[in-house]
Homo-oligomer: 152 residues x 2
Amino acid sequence: MDGRFKLDNQLCFRLYTASRLITQAYHPLLSQYGLTYPQYLVLLVLWEKDSQPVNDIAKRLMLETNTVTPLLKRMEAEGILTRTQGKTDARQMIVKLTRKGRELQDKLSEVPETVGSSVLCESVTAETVPTLFRMLDDIIEQLKHHNNESNC
Amino acid sequence: MDGRFKLDNQLCFRLYTASRLITQAYHPLLSQYGLTYPQYLVLLVLWEKDSQPVNDIAKRLMLETNTVTPLLKRMEAEGILTRTQGKTDARQMIVKLTRKGRELQDKLSEVPETVGSSVLCESVTAETVPTLFRMLDDIIEQLKHHNNESNC
DNA sequence: AATTTTTATATCGTTCACGATGCAAATATA
DNA sequence: TATATTTGCATCGTGAACGATATAAAAATT
Protein backbone atom coordinates (compact mmCIF):
# COMPACT_ATOMS: atom_id res chain seq x y z
CA MET A 1 0.00 0.00 0.00
CA ASP A 2 1.71 3.16 -1.12
CA GLY A 3 0.99 6.50 0.49
CA ARG A 4 0.61 8.62 -2.59
CA PHE A 5 -3.02 9.36 -1.86
CA LYS A 6 -2.72 9.75 1.89
CA LEU A 7 -4.11 13.10 3.00
CA ASP A 8 -1.33 13.33 5.56
CA ASN A 9 1.28 13.32 2.80
CA GLN A 10 -0.21 16.22 0.90
CA LEU A 11 1.41 19.63 0.95
CA CYS A 12 -1.58 21.24 -0.68
CA PHE A 13 -3.99 20.11 1.99
CA ARG A 14 -1.73 21.60 4.66
CA LEU A 15 -1.53 24.92 2.83
CA TYR A 16 -5.26 24.91 2.21
CA THR A 17 -6.03 24.19 5.86
CA ALA A 18 -3.45 26.57 7.29
CA SER A 19 -4.73 29.32 5.02
CA ARG A 20 -8.34 28.76 6.04
CA LEU A 21 -7.57 28.59 9.76
CA ILE A 22 -5.42 31.71 9.80
CA THR A 23 -8.12 33.58 7.89
CA GLN A 24 -10.52 32.45 10.59
CA ALA A 25 -8.12 33.87 13.17
CA TYR A 26 -8.39 37.26 11.46
CA HIS A 27 -12.17 37.11 11.39
CA PRO A 28 -13.04 38.38 14.91
CA LEU A 29 -10.51 41.22 14.53
CA LEU A 30 -11.75 42.34 11.13
CA SER A 31 -15.48 41.72 11.35
CA GLN A 32 -15.94 44.36 14.03
CA TYR A 33 -15.04 46.85 11.30
CA GLY A 34 -17.14 45.06 8.69
CA LEU A 35 -14.09 43.78 6.84
CA THR A 36 -13.27 40.40 5.35
CA TYR A 37 -9.75 39.08 4.99
CA PRO A 38 -9.51 39.71 1.22
CA GLN A 39 -10.77 43.23 1.84
CA TYR A 40 -8.05 43.66 4.46
CA LEU A 41 -5.52 42.57 1.83
CA VAL A 42 -6.76 45.32 -0.47
CA LEU A 43 -6.30 47.80 2.36
CA LEU A 44 -2.72 46.59 2.92
CA VAL A 45 -2.01 47.24 -0.76
CA LEU A 46 -3.57 50.71 -0.70
CA TRP A 47 -1.96 51.70 2.60
CA GLU A 48 1.39 50.92 1.01
CA LYS A 49 0.54 52.98 -2.08
CA ASP A 50 -2.73 54.83 -2.48
CA SER A 51 -4.42 55.51 -5.79
CA GLN A 52 -3.84 52.48 -7.99
CA PRO A 53 -5.70 51.03 -10.99
CA VAL A 54 -7.64 47.80 -10.43
CA ASN A 55 -5.10 45.82 -12.39
CA ASP A 56 -2.16 46.81 -10.19
CA ILE A 57 -4.06 45.77 -7.08
CA ALA A 58 -5.02 42.46 -8.67
CA LYS A 59 -1.43 41.80 -9.76
CA ARG A 60 -0.11 42.58 -6.29
CA LEU A 61 -2.53 40.10 -4.76
CA MET A 62 -2.08 37.64 -7.63
CA LEU A 63 -5.84 37.60 -8.18
CA GLU A 64 -7.89 38.08 -11.34
CA THR A 65 -9.75 41.32 -11.89
CA ASN A 66 -13.04 39.40 -11.91
CA THR A 67 -12.34 38.61 -8.26
CA VAL A 68 -11.12 42.05 -7.31
CA THR A 69 -13.75 44.16 -9.07
CA PRO A 70 -16.76 42.96 -7.02
CA LEU A 71 -14.64 43.13 -3.89
CA LEU A 72 -13.76 46.77 -4.59
CA LYS A 73 -17.38 47.58 -5.34
CA ARG A 74 -18.42 46.24 -1.95
CA MET A 75 -15.70 48.31 -0.30
CA GLU A 76 -16.82 51.37 -2.27
CA ALA A 77 -20.38 50.79 -1.05
CA GLU A 78 -18.99 50.76 2.51
CA GLY A 79 -17.35 54.14 1.92
CA ILE A 80 -13.84 52.74 2.36
CA LEU A 81 -12.60 53.72 -1.09
CA THR A 82 -13.58 55.41 -4.35
CA ARG A 83 -13.30 54.15 -7.92
CA THR A 84 -12.88 56.81 -10.58
CA GLN A 85 -12.12 56.51 -14.26
CA GLY A 86 -8.51 57.19 -15.16
CA LYS A 87 -7.70 60.45 -16.95
CA THR A 88 -4.78 59.35 -19.11
CA ASP A 89 -6.35 55.93 -19.80
CA ALA A 90 -10.11 55.86 -19.82
CA ARG A 91 -10.17 52.09 -19.45
CA GLN A 92 -8.59 52.17 -16.03
CA MET A 93 -10.47 52.54 -12.79
CA ILE A 94 -8.33 54.31 -10.21
CA VAL A 95 -8.92 53.11 -6.66
CA LYS A 96 -8.34 55.63 -3.90
CA LEU A 97 -8.85 55.39 -0.15
CA THR A 98 -11.37 57.65 1.53
CA ARG A 99 -10.72 59.26 4.89
CA LYS A 100 -12.53 56.28 6.44
CA GLY A 101 -10.26 53.86 4.59
CA ARG A 102 -7.14 55.65 5.80
CA GLU A 103 -8.43 55.82 9.37
CA LEU A 104 -8.90 52.07 9.45
CA GLN A 105 -5.12 51.71 9.52
CA ASP A 106 -5.00 53.18 13.04
CA LYS A 107 -7.94 51.12 14.22
CA LEU A 108 -6.37 47.92 12.91
CA SER A 109 -2.85 48.67 14.11
CA GLU A 110 -2.90 45.77 16.58
CA VAL A 111 -4.08 43.17 14.06
CA PRO A 112 -0.77 42.03 12.53
CA GLU A 113 0.87 41.48 15.91
CA THR A 114 -2.20 39.81 17.41
CA VAL A 115 -2.54 37.29 14.60
CA GLY A 116 1.19 36.86 14.32
CA SER A 117 1.55 35.89 17.95
CA SER A 118 -1.29 33.39 17.71
CA VAL A 119 0.64 31.48 15.06
CA LEU A 120 3.98 31.21 16.82
CA CYS A 121 4.65 27.73 18.15
CA GLU A 122 7.40 25.22 18.72
CA SER A 123 8.67 24.95 15.17
CA VAL A 124 7.65 28.40 14.01
CA THR A 125 9.60 31.03 15.91
CA ALA A 126 11.23 34.36 15.16
CA GLU A 127 14.29 32.38 14.07
CA THR A 128 12.52 29.92 11.77
CA VAL A 129 9.99 32.25 10.17
CA PRO A 130 12.48 33.45 7.52
CA THR A 131 13.00 29.82 6.47
CA LEU A 132 9.26 29.30 6.18
CA PHE A 133 8.89 32.57 4.24
CA ARG A 134 11.60 31.55 1.79
CA MET A 135 10.04 28.15 1.19
CA LEU A 136 6.60 29.62 0.60
CA ASP A 137 8.02 32.35 -1.64
CA ASP A 138 9.83 29.72 -3.69
CA ILE A 139 6.69 27.59 -3.98
CA ILE A 140 4.65 30.62 -5.05
CA GLU A 141 7.26 31.65 -7.62
CA GLN A 142 7.47 28.11 -8.93
CA LEU A 143 3.71 27.74 -9.24
CA LYS A 144 3.27 31.14 -10.85
CA HIS A 145 5.46 30.04 -13.73
CA HIS A 146 4.07 26.52 -13.84
CA ASN A 147 0.46 27.70 -14.03
CA ASN A 148 1.27 30.28 -16.69
CA GLU A 149 3.04 27.76 -18.90
CA SER A 150 0.03 25.45 -18.79
CA ASN A 151 -2.05 28.24 -20.30
CA CYS A 152 -0.04 28.23 -23.55
CA MET B 1 7.83 53.76 8.96
CA ASP B 2 7.37 50.31 10.47
CA GLY B 3 6.64 47.27 8.33
CA ARG B 4 3.80 45.79 10.33
CA PHE B 5 1.33 46.32 7.51
CA LYS B 6 3.63 45.39 4.65
CA LEU B 7 2.14 42.63 2.54
CA ASP B 8 5.59 41.13 2.13
CA ASN B 9 5.84 40.54 5.87
CA GLN B 10 2.60 38.59 6.14
CA LEU B 11 2.62 34.85 6.65
CA CYS B 12 -1.09 34.61 6.00
CA PHE B 13 -0.87 36.19 2.58
CA ARG B 14 1.83 33.69 1.60
CA LEU B 15 -0.29 30.75 2.77
CA TYR B 16 -3.37 32.16 1.07
CA THR B 17 -1.52 32.66 -2.21
CA ALA B 18 0.36 29.36 -2.14
CA SER B 19 -2.89 27.54 -1.40
CA ARG B 20 -4.70 29.21 -4.29
CA LEU B 21 -1.89 28.65 -6.76
CA ILE B 22 -1.43 25.00 -5.90
CA THR B 23 -5.17 24.44 -6.20
CA GLN B 24 -4.92 26.00 -9.65
CA ALA B 25 -2.15 23.53 -10.45
CA TYR B 26 -4.55 20.68 -9.65
CA HIS B 27 -7.27 22.15 -11.83
CA PRO B 28 -6.28 20.87 -15.30
CA LEU B 29 -5.67 17.40 -13.86
CA LEU B 30 -8.97 17.19 -11.99
CA SER B 31 -11.32 19.05 -14.31
CA GLN B 32 -11.00 16.45 -17.05
CA TYR B 33 -12.86 14.15 -14.64
CA GLY B 34 -15.29 16.85 -13.59
CA LEU B 35 -13.72 17.19 -10.16
CA THR B 36 -12.83 20.23 -8.06
CA TYR B 37 -10.03 20.25 -5.52
CA PRO B 38 -12.30 20.04 -2.46
CA GLN B 39 -14.07 17.12 -4.13
CA TYR B 40 -10.70 15.48 -4.66
CA LEU B 41 -10.03 15.90 -0.94
CA VAL B 42 -13.27 14.07 -0.17
CA LEU B 43 -12.12 11.26 -2.45
CA LEU B 44 -8.78 11.07 -0.63
CA VAL B 45 -10.66 10.65 2.63
CA LEU B 46 -12.97 7.97 1.26
CA TRP B 47 -10.20 6.09 -0.54
CA GLU B 48 -8.45 5.82 2.81
CA LYS B 49 -11.60 4.60 4.52
CA ASP B 50 -14.86 4.08 2.68
CA SER B 51 -18.30 4.42 4.23
CA GLN B 52 -18.11 7.28 6.69
CA PRO B 53 -20.72 9.64 8.15
CA VAL B 54 -20.69 13.25 6.96
CA ASN B 55 -19.32 14.44 10.26
CA ASP B 56 -16.22 12.25 10.12
CA ILE B 57 -15.39 13.50 6.65
CA ALA B 58 -15.88 17.09 7.74
CA LYS B 59 -13.68 16.59 10.81
CA ARG B 60 -10.94 14.98 8.75
CA LEU B 61 -10.91 17.96 6.37
CA MET B 62 -11.44 20.42 9.23
CA LEU B 63 -14.48 21.83 7.45
CA GLU B 64 -18.00 22.46 8.69
CA THR B 65 -20.82 20.17 7.64
CA ASN B 66 -22.53 23.11 5.96
CA THR B 67 -19.60 23.19 3.54
CA VAL B 68 -19.35 19.44 3.09
CA THR B 69 -23.04 18.61 2.68
CA PRO B 70 -23.60 20.52 -0.59
CA LEU B 71 -20.26 19.26 -1.85
CA LEU B 72 -21.29 15.65 -1.20
CA LYS B 73 -24.66 16.24 -2.84
CA ARG B 74 -22.95 17.44 -6.01
CA MET B 75 -20.71 14.38 -5.98
CA GLU B 76 -23.74 12.18 -5.42
CA ALA B 77 -25.41 13.80 -8.43
CA GLU B 78 -22.29 12.95 -10.46
CA GLY B 79 -22.62 9.30 -9.41
CA ILE B 80 -19.32 9.32 -7.51
CA LEU B 81 -20.81 8.38 -4.15
CA THR B 82 -24.04 7.53 -2.34
CA ARG B 83 -25.52 9.04 0.82
CA THR B 84 -27.72 6.73 2.85
CA GLN B 85 -29.25 7.19 6.26
CA GLY B 86 -27.39 5.40 9.06
CA LYS B 87 -29.01 2.31 10.58
CA THR B 88 -27.79 2.55 14.17
CA ASP B 89 -28.13 6.34 14.21
CA ALA B 90 -30.85 7.75 11.97
CA ARG B 91 -29.35 11.24 12.12
CA GLN B 92 -26.20 10.19 10.35
CA MET B 93 -25.77 10.13 6.59
CA ILE B 94 -23.31 7.44 5.57
CA VAL B 95 -21.23 8.34 2.55
CA LYS B 96 -20.05 5.47 0.38
CA LEU B 97 -18.11 5.42 -2.88
CA THR B 98 -19.73 4.00 -5.98
CA ARG B 99 -17.84 1.89 -8.48
CA LYS B 100 -17.20 5.11 -10.41
CA GLY B 101 -15.81 6.78 -7.31
CA ARG B 102 -13.44 3.89 -6.64
CA GLU B 103 -12.33 3.73 -10.26
CA LEU B 104 -11.32 7.39 -10.15
CA GLN B 105 -8.41 6.37 -7.94
CA ASP B 106 -6.76 4.55 -10.84
CA LYS B 107 -7.47 7.35 -13.28
CA LEU B 108 -5.99 9.94 -10.91
CA SER B 109 -2.98 7.86 -9.91
CA GLU B 110 -0.54 10.27 -11.54
CA VAL B 111 -1.98 13.38 -9.90
CA PRO B 112 -0.06 13.46 -6.58
CA GLU B 113 3.31 13.00 -8.25
CA THR B 114 2.55 15.44 -11.07
CA VAL B 115 1.53 18.24 -8.73
CA GLY B 116 4.25 17.35 -6.25
CA SER B 117 6.99 17.68 -8.81
CA SER B 118 5.67 21.02 -10.00
CA VAL B 119 6.17 22.44 -6.50
CA LEU B 120 9.73 21.30 -5.91
CA CYS B 121 12.26 24.11 -6.13
CA GLU B 122 15.46 25.39 -4.64
CA SER B 123 14.39 25.63 -1.03
CA VAL B 124 11.73 22.92 -1.14
CA THR B 125 13.34 19.56 -1.83
CA ALA B 126 12.89 15.99 -0.69
CA GLU B 127 15.17 16.88 2.25
CA THR B 128 13.39 20.06 3.34
CA VAL B 129 9.77 18.99 2.83
CA PRO B 130 9.60 17.33 6.28
CA THR B 131 10.64 20.64 7.86
CA LEU B 132 7.94 22.47 5.95
CA PHE B 133 5.37 19.82 6.90
CA ARG B 134 6.26 20.09 10.56
CA MET B 135 5.98 23.87 10.52
CA LEU B 136 2.59 23.79 8.79
CA ASP B 137 1.34 21.04 11.09
CA ASP B 138 2.36 23.08 14.11
CA ILE B 139 0.67 26.19 12.73
CA ILE B 140 -2.50 24.23 12.02
CA GLU B 141 -2.50 22.67 15.48
CA GLN B 142 -1.85 26.05 17.10
CA LEU B 143 -4.65 27.76 15.17
CA LYS B 144 -7.12 24.96 15.76
CA HIS B 145 -6.86 25.54 19.50
CA HIS B 146 -6.67 29.31 19.18
CA ASN B 147 -9.82 29.51 17.07
CA ASN B 148 -11.73 27.15 19.34
CA GLU B 149 -10.86 29.14 22.44
CA SER B 150 -12.15 32.33 20.84
CA ASN B 151 -15.54 30.66 20.48
CA CYS B 152 -16.01 30.39 24.27
C1' DA C 1 -7.00 56.67 -41.77
C1' DA C 2 -9.01 52.10 -41.43
C1' DT C 3 -8.46 47.63 -39.36
C1' DT C 4 -6.70 44.40 -36.23
C1' DT C 5 -4.94 43.26 -31.84
C1' DT C 6 -4.20 44.02 -27.20
C1' DT C 7 -5.42 45.77 -22.76
C1' DA C 8 -8.41 47.12 -18.65
C1' DT C 9 -12.35 46.21 -16.60
C1' DA C 10 -16.85 44.20 -16.00
C1' DT C 11 -20.62 40.53 -16.15
C1' DC C 12 -22.25 35.84 -15.56
C1' DG C 13 -22.50 31.19 -13.70
C1' DT C 14 -20.74 27.65 -10.56
C1' DT C 15 -18.51 26.12 -6.47
C1' DC C 16 -16.64 26.65 -2.26
C1' DA C 17 -16.38 28.62 2.83
C1' DC C 18 -18.79 29.86 6.68
C1' DG C 19 -21.86 32.35 10.11
C1' DA C 20 -26.54 31.86 11.58
C1' DT C 21 -30.33 29.16 12.11
C1' DG C 22 -33.64 25.12 11.91
C1' DC C 23 -35.01 20.37 12.82
C1' DA C 24 -35.28 15.80 14.11
C1' DA C 25 -33.03 11.93 16.35
C1' DA C 26 -30.38 10.49 20.23
C1' DT C 27 -28.91 11.13 24.88
C1' DA C 28 -29.05 12.93 29.53
C1' DT C 29 -31.62 14.52 33.31
C1' DA C 30 -35.44 15.17 36.21
C1' DT D 1 -41.42 8.12 31.55
C1' DA D 2 -41.62 13.09 30.56
C1' DT D 3 -38.52 16.96 29.69
C1' DA D 4 -34.27 19.15 28.55
C1' DT D 5 -29.98 19.06 26.19
C1' DT D 6 -26.91 17.57 22.84
C1' DT D 7 -25.73 15.86 18.37
C1' DG D 8 -25.84 15.25 13.15
C1' DC D 9 -27.20 17.15 9.25
C1' DA D 10 -29.47 20.53 6.35
C1' DT D 11 -30.97 25.25 4.69
C1' DC D 12 -30.13 30.11 3.86
C1' DG D 13 -27.55 34.23 2.84
C1' DT D 14 -23.17 36.53 1.79
C1' DG D 15 -18.67 36.91 0.01
C1' DA D 16 -14.98 35.24 -2.25
C1' DA D 17 -12.44 32.59 -6.37
C1' DC D 18 -12.32 31.70 -11.01
C1' DG D 19 -13.41 30.07 -15.89
C1' DA D 20 -15.71 31.98 -19.78
C1' DT D 21 -17.23 35.80 -22.09
C1' DA D 22 -18.30 40.76 -23.23
C1' DT D 23 -17.16 45.63 -24.11
C1' DA D 24 -14.88 49.68 -24.87
C1' DA D 25 -10.57 52.14 -25.06
C1' DA D 26 -5.81 52.11 -26.44
C1' DA D 27 -2.06 50.51 -29.23
C1' DA D 28 -0.26 48.21 -33.20
C1' DT D 29 -0.58 47.04 -37.91
C1' DT D 30 -1.85 47.54 -42.58
